[in-house]
Every structure is written in structure tokens, then in C-alpha cells.
Symmetry: C2
Subunit: 219 residues, 2 copies
């Protein structure tokens, strides 16, 4: 039987294969029953690290979504879910999701006090939306402003301490607010340090892709 | 590698193997990477179909949970999540969940207006809780009061019509409120009829067991 296939969109421009396929690799590792095809958007080497860059990316993401020929689902692999709504309108016959809404849905199973751990000063859309329904406790280490900072021992230590701090403030679960936190594999270390479940956006995307594969199978 | 193993508790007493293993069979079918061991509680042939029967079942469910020797997780396979909190207290080292909270968490990804389709006049606990956060639109066909009624052509037709009716009232997703609706396999038919995603409690349990297996792997 043909595997359920994700059309995965990276919202940055790169020809570095390690970077380009980082999310695909994670999904393939934890969801071996799923197939993944990765594409990246053009002319945006810095990716999305501000609301303005998000706006610029939207039409590019929609255009990229339309180029998949045999995907069963489209994932915009970013915690800000950029262009997810727009793709749904343009491609109504196919499930579409992103890293943010999937992370919050999974996290909500583990508690109504959700610690959001990120590397930006603004909350991605789905996490802002979630403030209507849940107690959102936000954390970002001062010394960490990009995933590069997390690759230093100090940066990682600060992130783990921030996770502990969020739990001490009452968080019952940690929702990571950037896919970069998924690819550096900090979720397991954070769980050990903070002692509460950690949901990372790339795994969350994979979880809902798996659910979509179940939906398709039972039809 | 040893598969991640669910200790699955059926909240009714039966020695009919088809009934006893119905949930395990579904989970094995859609999640072949998971292992399942099923046990049922003693002296409750009617299962749980009222809050009173739920109360009586709680100590039996906790006692049954304690008898698993090598489970990685405990699932109380019922949309009312009976004894889930109690087992968490008694067995703090192991993930514990039920059909209700997992169904609502998955459903929340698909919209904030959730149609709840059931066969009882009362809402299971997690669905009541969800009323604080989401618009819950409740549906139950008058002629359907047990899963047996769904095995008649009239009962099934009434259920599918109720699903359509919930969508017409604004539901963006349907959350099934009884595991009996999962085992008769109505989710796929409902999706076709209503045209919106359907989350059934046994699949939802399987989804979160899969997520727990990912959490365990990455530790």
C-alpha cells in the first residue's frame, strides 16, 4: 500500500540539505509509516523571525503548496502556521496544518496551564489564540535569540532552566514555540529537567499527519 | 526493540472475546507499532451508562490498573475517563489517559465549535469541561439509546443524520462521546455524510499512546 504522503513546506530558503531536510528527518524517524516530500519557499534565506517576514512569506507558501502533485496533506512546518488558512481556501480538498495549532492541541491534553517556551519576543498566532482558552505562561531566556544560541552550552543550560522555571510557575506541560527547538532535539532534555511533558512542533505535525492517515484509511 | 505497551482497561465485565478485545483490535489495526494488553473490571456486566455506575467502577478500575506488570501506559478505554485522575495519583510514574480527554484534545485542532455526538443524555466529564473553552453543540438521536440501536439500519441512519445536523448548526468537527461508536466503525461513514473530521475515542487513545511512545523514545 502506498504510504500516506506529507507535502512539507519549509518557510526559509536553503540549499543546505541538512537544514532543508531536518524536519523531514525527524518525522521519518518517529513516524516511519509516513512518507514526506520537502520543499522550501524561494528568496527568503532568513526564514520568518518577525510578523513582517511572515506576511511576505504567505503568497510564496501558497504557491509552493500548489506545486505538490501527489501529497495527501500539506504541512507548513512553522510554529506560526503561516498561510495555513490561505492554503485551505485555495486547496479545499486536502488537509492542511502547521506546527502551532498542532502543538497547542496536543499540549491541551496535558493541562490547562501551558508553558510556552520560545526564542522570540512575540507569541506565534496559535499561541496567542490559545490565551483565550488556557493559562499561557511565557518563557524565553534573555541570552537566547536564535536557535544558534541554543547550540552553545550556556544557551542550552538557560533553556533548560527556563523550562524548570515555567513548571515552578504552574505550567503542567511545555509547548515549544519554534520548530528550531524541535530540530536541535531539546524536547527530551527538557522533559528530564522540568519533569512535565514537552510538545515540540515537528512531532506535533507528525502526530496530526498520522491522524489524517487514519482518517484516510477508514474512509 | 520491545514495542511500547498499552495496559488497556475495559470498564465492563465480559468474557465474550469479541467484545473484550474490540478496542485492542482497533488500536492494533491503526497503530501496528503499539502493543496492547486488555483487562476488564470485575462484576460490572452493564459497564458504565450512568454517573452512579461510574462511581461504583472507580475503585475497580484503579485496582485493575495496578495489576499490569509491564505496561508503559494505562488507558481507561471509556469516553467518561473514569478513574483516570485516581490512577494518576496511585501510579505517578506512568502516563494515564482515557477516551474523553484525548478526543477533545484532538478535536480542538479542527475548530472551536465542536459537535458532540453521543448515545446518552448526559455529557461525559471531559466534554463538560470542554464547554468552558469551546462551543459544544450536543446531538443524540431520539431513537438511539445504546450501541445496539446503532446496529439497526434505522439507528445508523439517524446517527448519520444527526452528524449532518450538527454540521448545519455550525460544528467544525465531530467528537464521538462513547467508545461504542468507535467499535461499530461509524466514524468513516459519519465523515462522508457530514463532510467534517470525526474524532472517535479509541483512535484518540491510540494517538496519545503513540505520542507517549515518542516521548519515551526520545528520553
Amino acid at each position: 500500500m502506498k504510504k500516506f504522503k506529507i507535502g512539507l513546506i519549509r518557510v526559509l530558503t536553503t540549499d543546505n540539505e541538512k537544514v532543508l531536510y531536518a524536519h523531514e528527518k525527524l518525522i521519518r524517524e518517529y513516524f516511519p509509516d509516513l512518507d514526506v516530500e520537502t520543499k522550501c519557499i524561494p528568496d527568503q534565506p532568513e526564514g520568518i523571525h518577525s510578523p513582517e517576514l511572515g506576511e511576505i512569506a504567505i503568497p510564496k507558501i501558497v504557491a509552493t503548496a500548489k506545486t505538490f502533485t501527489d501529497a495527501d496533506m500539506i504541512i507548513v512546518s512553522c510554529a506560526d502556521d503561516p498561510a495555513v488558512k490561505e492554503i485551505r481556501k485555495e486547496l479545499p480538498g486536502i488537509p492542511v496544518t502547521g506546527g502551532g495549532e498542532t502543538t497547542l492541541a496536543l499540549a491541551s491534553k496535558y493541562g490547562s496551564k501551558i508553558g510556552v517556551l520560545g526564542i522570540t519576543d512575540y507569541l506565534p498566532r496559535a499561541y496567542q489564540e490559545a490565551e483565550k482558552r488556557y493559562t499561557i505562561i511565557k518563557g524565553k531566556p534573555d541570552c537566547v535569540n536564535s536557535t544558534l544560541d541554543l547550540l552553545t552550552p550556556e544557551g542550552e543550560k538557560a533553556m533548560l532552566e527556563e523550562g524548570v522555571h515555567l513548571r515552578e510557575q504552574g505550567a503542567e506541560v511545555l509547548a515549544l514555540a519554534c520548530t528550531g527547538l524541535a530540530t536541535i532535539g531539546i524536547a527530551g532534555k527538557l522533559e528530564k529537567a522540568a519533569g512535565i511533558p514537552v510538545v515540540d512542533p515537528v512531532i506535533a505535525e507528525g502526530m496530526f499527519a498520522y491522524f489524517e492517515s487514519v482518517r484516510k484509511q477508514r474512509m
